[in-house]
Amino acid sequence: MLTKIAGGEIIDPVNGRFGKGDLWIRDEQIVEPPAGGDADRTIDASGCFVMAGAIDIHSHIGGGNVNTARLLLPEQHAAHMARPAATPLSNAGWSTFETGCLYAKMGFTTVVEPAMSPGAALHTHLELADIPIIDKATLAILGNDDFLLSMIRDSSSQQMIEDYVAWTVGSTRALGVKVINAGAAAAFKENVRTFALDDVVPTYGVSSRKIVKTLQAAVDRLGIPHPLHVHCNNLGAPGAADTAAATISASEGVPLHLAHLQFYSYGTEGKRKFSSAAARLAELINTTPQVTIDIGQVMFGQTVTISSDVMRQFSARGSASPKKTVIHDGDGNGGGIVPYRYRQDFYGTMQWAIGLELFLLIDDPWRVFFTTDHPNGAPFTAYPALFELLMSRDARDEMSAGGSNGAMALSTLSSIAREYTLEEIAVMTRAAPAKLLGLDDRGHLGPGALADISIYRKGKDIAKMFGAAAFVFKNGDLVVKDGEISHYRWGRALRLNPPPDKAMVRRLREYHERRYGLSLDWFTFPDSAVAREQPFGEVACRS
């Protein structure tokens, strides 16, 4: 089928295409305008701008910890509307089915779940497979697991460590690797309560820095397109900016991605010993080209924090609102669920302002990524409002006025004039994520690209514009019309598939049998277990 998207304002930074024009789709792909071709379907995009489908690189949309959070908080996501006719189970307050529909309505077509526990990969993929419309991907968590820590302790060869990382990525169907407070979850099991970059995991004698460096090198050498995704130590602590700065310095010329930098951009100034270090970290990012970051923006209101940083979540139990938490010591990381309400008080306003400072003070939209660390800083449904804050200084001033004056006085936010352009938004939410994840087939509108396209009707109200796309195409299917789901389909989970090393598989079999008394088969699964047609899409490693 040939579709013509007619007369929209194209914003395609990758191909340098800007301004009014047509876009053609044949079946699943964007194509050159056909010579004298008649479209089977024409979409009138006049008065709209046309971008590639948005890509979210860090959003906790499925897996054991996310599901435990749902279980913990039934009162916070009661459904209240009858089901829309076309979309089953999409009106539940917080379901996989709702997740896909809500993302699609905002013009997002690919979303990465960044924290998959390797042992629970099947559970994660079953949830992702029940998220309709969009494509998904996962990052596998390593760095607190006994197998890796033992290899580092025993000075195993670089090759052996790479074989283990490759096996983990392949068998769990991941798109990359994440390390979360490297070594801290293992140390917490030994009753350690705080853990910094140069602290050492008891009994292994391995530092957090050594774990990060080992995984960073393995990911780089394996040609995994997405650099090691790092959740640093000391999340949320005043003074954590020092930790983040030390981690950035530790990248040493090799690509590294730092997750939700907002949660580390805290200094110790002022009478509350809690201040913004955003300007300092932004400057460091600006001068460290191999490092990328996402923000983890805070927006005000009720949410729940879901993290595999079990040590941090344990220490945050006292701040739970409502007062209930789950703390899980897992095989590797485990995790913690702590519900939380961001108030417009000193701390909440400070966090909110710090996130925006980072967005606005980091110059290069190719290296700063648009996230709220859903749902940790805010649910992803806050994205439209966040776009508005980035694109409008007036909107920021208005919101600042409702916040804590004390916090605003310690922040540079009100002095920053920058407003994101649509081109910068297109880079940050489309082109750059595709590049960062190694997804060459999306993030742009050139011929040959997957026809993942979002079309927004221009308007003064930026949040409204981004909240309900006029049209969204996924793989060439028109899935959203006037902000409502018009076609139901199933996306795939994008994965790498490095071949397993036979000796490593033997080693892992022996390890699982001896240490866990279980066959390795308990931790692997065939594609058929996911029970959908073509649940996975393969992405190539760099050669």
Binding site: P74, H77, T87, L126, I327, G330, I337
Partner: protein, 361 residues
Amino acid sequence: MAVAWIGNRETLVEHACEQAAMLLQSSRCPVISFDTDIHGTRAAIALAERVGAAYDHVEGAGLSRETALFTDKGAMIVAPGEVRRRADVVAIVGELPAVHHSFVAELADTVPDLSATNAREFFLIGDEGTKVSTFLGSRKATPLSSDGGLSGTLAALRAQRAGRRVSKQVSNFDDFARALGTAKFPVFLFSGHGADGLALEMLQGLIADINRKSRASALHLPASESGWGSVLASTWMTGFAPRTGFARGFPEYDPWRFDVERALASGEADLHLWISAGSAPPAEDNGVKLIALAKTAEPVAGAEITIAIGEVGVDHEAVVYSGRTGTLAAIKAQGASELPSAAAVIRLVADKIPAEAALPC
């Protein structure tokens, strides 16, 4: 071999599914109870949405106590693999379901390789009547008990640890205190099968107390493994655990109202869809109509419609929750047969019910 019946009369599966769909559509208050794998659960919930039914697991009572622990208080929990490798003290809290006894026996047979002590000590928390567990083999478990049953004993343990007075001392408390004093990672094994809500809450209080200064956690050994799998799938699909209903067109979680056994006994429900290859449905009275999906070679007594299904992991491959790994696992068919899975039959039924929305699974 016959696989479908209307009343006592053999029929084609296709026809039985049509009849089942008609009964479900004409029902005023249909309820579903199931004991099946993840994909059977997913199909049953999709059907429940389509016909406005409420659903529950066949062992809903124990599971609902476990669910309530999470919805009301939260918990500290640990993965089974870590228990095997790290737990130097294991305390069994009340009675555990038989399916988990082999893991406890395995704990008795092994020592924690990630613990400096390389030894494991066992305690058994419960009232005086709790039998010393036979599944520990030659290993001895020190019994801990006081007044007031399991929750009373747990409350007394907490109080004595905090140096508070108790009406009756917990037996062998000093042994327990000594063990906790040196333990690096004590783990309490619990289940909603043998512990009520108050006991589960007391246990978590005790664990929170210990974690102020040292480490401890609890291993959740669910009242039913298939049931906990269904809790997980239901939670991601609807946001809620079973005992959820679609009477108003959207999922509502109400552990009292949608307790299917209660809804049947009270006469609220007029149609019962029973889905289990492992057990027979209870005899219905109150004029409730029964549709039975069961592993059977003959019609189920009293059922309007019977359709034979295969057993998870025997007749067909499946995805199940494993208490041994603490997560979902893919299992192969041990004796693959022609019998359809519950998921396949439920989907056939749901397909016969007209709806604007496609089936989500």
